[in-house]
Amino acid sequence: MSTEHAKNGSLITPFNIVAGIILAAGVVVTIMRFTMGLGSVTNLSDNNPWGIWIGFDLLCGVALAAGGYTTSAACYIFGFKRFHAAVRPAILTAFLGYALVVFALNYDVGRPWRLPYPIFYQQGTTSILFEVGLCVFIYLTVLFLEYLPAAMEWKGGFDKYRGILVKLTMVLTIFGVILSTLHQSSLGALYLIVPSKLHPLWYTPYLPVMFFMSSMFAGLSMVVFEGTLSHKYFHHKMDEDYNANYLDLQFAFAKGAAWIMAGYLAMKLLGLSMDNRWAYLFTGYGAWWLLEVVGFVVLPCYCYAVGYRDRNIGLVRLAAPWTVIGIMLNRFDVSLIAFNWQLPSAERYFPSLGEIIISLFVVTIGIIAFKFIVTRMPIFYAHPAYKDSSH
C-alpha cells in the first residue's frame, strides 16, 4: 500500500479511499453522538449499559495492546537482548492502543470531560473501575515516556532528555509490568460483581487471573501478527538488526505463547472443576464455551507448539491471528454474549451501525497514526546517530 503510494505519488490509493470513507462516516456519527446523546447512535439500553465500545474498544483494545509490556519485559528484564529491535514497534503499538482506548471512552461515557474526576476530584477506591482508570492513566503516561525517545531522535536536539529517558528504561519497564498486571486483571475483575448476570461457565473467581494470563499471549500473538504484517508493508523501513532477529523472535514468542496458553487452559478447567460446572458443557452455552476454548485456545496453542518444534514459520503465523481472534471472542463472551444470558432474547444487545462505525473509526485512526509514525520515526530501525544506544 505504502509502496504504491511512493510510486505514483497520488493520494488515491485503495487504503486511503477506504480510510477516508470510514473517517467521514465516523465524523457524522460523532456529531450525532454529541448532539443527540448515546441513545441516538447506539443500541444500548437500561439492561445493556455496556456495548461494543466497552467490549471491543476497551476490553479487546487493552488486551491486544499487551505486546508493549510483554516485549519490553522479555527484552529488558528476562534478558532476551536479541529481540531488542522488536521493543520499539511493540511499545508504539501499545501506546497508540491505549491512547485510542481513552479516545474511544470519550464516546461511551456520558460526560467525557469528567473522565479525570475519579483520579483528581473524588476517588471511588472501592471500585474495580477506579483501579482500571488509575492504572490505564498512569500506564499511558509510562508508554508515552517509553515511546518518546523515538520521537526525539526523529526531531533531533533533545539528547539531554532522551538520555534521561533511556536511563529510566528499567524503571519504566518494571512500572509497565506492575500496571499491566493490575489493570489487565482488573478488567476481568470488573465482572466479579455480577455473578447473577454472567453465565456460570464464564463467571469464576479466577476471572482476574484469566484476563491477566490471556493478555500475555494476546500481547505475544499481536507482536507476531503485527510483525508479519509490518514486514510485508514496511520492509523498506527495517534495518539489518531487525530483519536478522525477527524470525527468531517469532519462534521465541510462539514458544512463550504456547506455554502460557497451556497454563490458561489448565486455569479454565480448574475453574470448571472447583465449582463443579461441568454439567453446563452440555447446554447451548456449553457448546459455545467449547468453541471458544477448544477452537481458539487449544488449537492455536497446538499450532504454536508444533510450529516452534518444527521451525515451521507458516504455522506460527497462522496461530497468531487465530489467537488474536480467540482473545476477542473471549472478551466478547464475558462482556456481551454470556452477559445478561438470562434476559429474554428480545432484550439482548446487538451493536448498532453507529457503534460499529465508531469502532472502525477508532481502529482506522490507529492504523493511520501507526503508518505516519513508522514511515518517519526510527521504529523499525536504529537511528544512525544513536546506533550504539541500548534503548
Binding site: 437500561d46 439492561n47 534478558g79 456520558g110 460526560r111 475519579p118 477506591t125 486483571s185
Partner: protein, 350 residues
Amino acid sequence: MKRRHFLGLLGAAGVSLTTGVSAKAASGADVAGMPNVGGVLFDASRCIGCRKCEAACNKVNDLPQPAKPFDDLTVMDTARRTDAASYTVVNKYQPKPGENPVFRKIQCNHCMEPACASACFVKAFKKTETGAVVYDASVCVGCRYCMVACPFNIPAYEYHKALAPRVMKCTLCHPRLLEGKLPGCVEACPKEALQFGKRRELINIAWDRVTASPDKYVQHVYGEHEMGGTSWLYIAPKPSFSAIGMDEHLGTTSAPELTSGALAAVPAVAGIWPVLLTGIYAISKRKDKIAEDEKKAAVEAAIAKASADAEAKLAEELSKAEVAGKRRIEVEVKKALEAAAKEQEGGEDA
C-alpha cells in the same frame, strides 16, 4: 532514579490505591451497622395493581408524564422495568392458572451494601441513615458501571441527553424522609401493601405475618439477606418469589465482598512484582556475566594452551634443528676429513 526511591514511590502508589479499601470498608460493614436504618415492607398478597404508587412517584419526583395514564391498567399486560422516566413500576404475574393474579412492585431496593456504590469510581452513590441510597449527579461521569453492577437491574440512564445525562433511580424519597414525610408510594398505597419503618422492625413484622399464615406465604423474607440485605423487604404468596419475577439465586454475599479480594491483591502485586522482576533481571544479568566470565576464562585457557603448545613445538623444532645442524656439521667434517685423507693419499701416490 535510585532503585530504593522508586520502590518507595511504588509502595506509596499501592497504599494510596488501597486506602480505605480494607475488606471491611469495601463491604460497607459500617453501613450495615446503622441501628435505625429505614426501609419499606412490600406485601405482594395485599397489592391490587392499582398503580397509585406509580402515579404518586411520578408526581413527587417531577417525572415526565407517561404515554398512557396511570389509571390505564392494560400496561401491566407486558412486563416492564424501571427507566429514566419511571422510578417504580408494578408488574402483573399469574403464578397459578385460574387464580387471581399477583402484583409486584419494582424499584430500587436500597441495598445495605449497594453494588452501585461499591462499583462507582467517583463515589456518586451513598447509603444514608434514612435507608436511602442516594445519587449525586454533580460528580457522575456516566460510565454506567453502576447499571452493570446492580443485581436487581434498577438504575436507568438518560440515553437521549447529549450533554448532561443522569443515572435515574428511586431515591426512597430521601428529601421527603428528611422532612419527616413518608415516601410518595407508601403514602399513596390504599391497601397498606407498603409499609415504611425501621428495617429491623419491618423484618419482625414480615416474619410475624409469614409464620402466622404458613399456607398463604412463602416462608422467606426477601431482602433480609439477599446480596447482604436490602432496605426494601418483600413477602409474597405461594408458590415462590421467582413466580413473581424475583431472582432467587442472588445469594447472600454483598456486592463489595465480591470484589474485595481482587482489590486486596493490588498492594500484593505492587509489592511483589518489583522484587520479583528485579530479581529475575539480576539473575539473568548474573547468568550473562557468568557466561561471559566463563567464555573469557575459556578463551584465556585456550590461548594459554595454544601458546604453550607453540612454545613446546618451537623448542622441539629448535632442538630438532640443532640435531640436524650438528649432524650436518658432522657430515661436513666427515666429508672434509675424508677429502683431506684422500688428498693426502693422492699426494703420497704422486
